[in-house]
Subunit: 156 residues, 2 copies
């Protein structure tokens, strides 16, 4: 990592279709344009959890509504990017207990294109914008591969 990355929280903000999509998901809620002056990096700042921040978080804690919302948007953005790339719509469904365990699925037609079991939900985050972008791109690629493997179920 560059010196800049160690200095600025979240590090370098990379070019990423996934990050652009995730920021768009967040901006979609901003009906009155109050965030127009904010950069995408500002809007995604809550997705960053640095090593220090993580250390300071309790190992067990009830996930707050903001965290659940953040996780949902993370997967919503994957669904939307997937739709742009494959033309197939996918909707997410998540279920997270107040102990912070849960499952998130992304469903296209009758196909589960992503299935993730989550834990330590209250600590959900990425050490850098690059890691966030990588995670989103990787899951989108996995979902696309799942559709390619089972196209009939995805279109059912």
């Amino acid at each position: 990592m560059s010196d800049l990355a160690t200095e600025v929280r979240g590090g370098i903000y990379p070019q990423s279709e996934y990050l652009a999509q995730l920021a768009a998901v967040i901006r979609a809620q901003d009906s009155y344009g109050t965030w127009d002056g904010k950069t995408d990096a500002d809007l995604l700042a809550d997705y960053i959890v640095t090593a220090e921040e993580r250390r300071d978080m309790p190992i067990i804690a009830d996930p707050e509504p903001e965290v659940l919302d953040r996780i949902e948007k993370f997967y919503d953005a994957i669904g939307l990017l997937l739709e742009k790339r494959s033309g197939i719509m996918a909707a997410q469904m998540s279920r997270i207990s107040h102990e912070g365990f849960g499952r998130v699925v992304l469903i296209a037609g009758r196909l589960v294109v992503i299935s993730k079991h989550l834990r330590d939900v209250h600590r959900f985050g990425f050490t850098s914008f690059e890691k966030l972008a990588e995670a989103g791109e990787k899951l989108t690629a996995e979902a696309a591969a799942m559709i390619a493997a089972h196209p009939d179920a995805a279109r059912a």
Copy 2:
């Protein structure tokens, strides 16, 4: 319907693999055997909502935890019966808002074998045990047909 059915709440209790499975799901929670003296019909009584009872229910109301639990068990029983018949495990995932709208899916491997959008969740119920049995059998058959149509996704 027979006279008996109009007299007894829930009507005749039919022979049904589905009802037996649903009662077994409920009994599985009875660790201390306090319900050993109860019949399956006793245990499933809460699934009955007669026309009169339905009329007396508010059109809009927050679904109580008991109702959500009842709906989950309804789909759990379908998953278990499906497994007995097809050898394929299916897990349910439900998400119901406190306005009483929601979605329930039953997932086998990567295949969504059942997908239901729910509304008026607080009024969830059946006018008779026969209708309850029919609904459970019908959904189990639909799920089995979905597996037959997309066996690769169901085993993925």
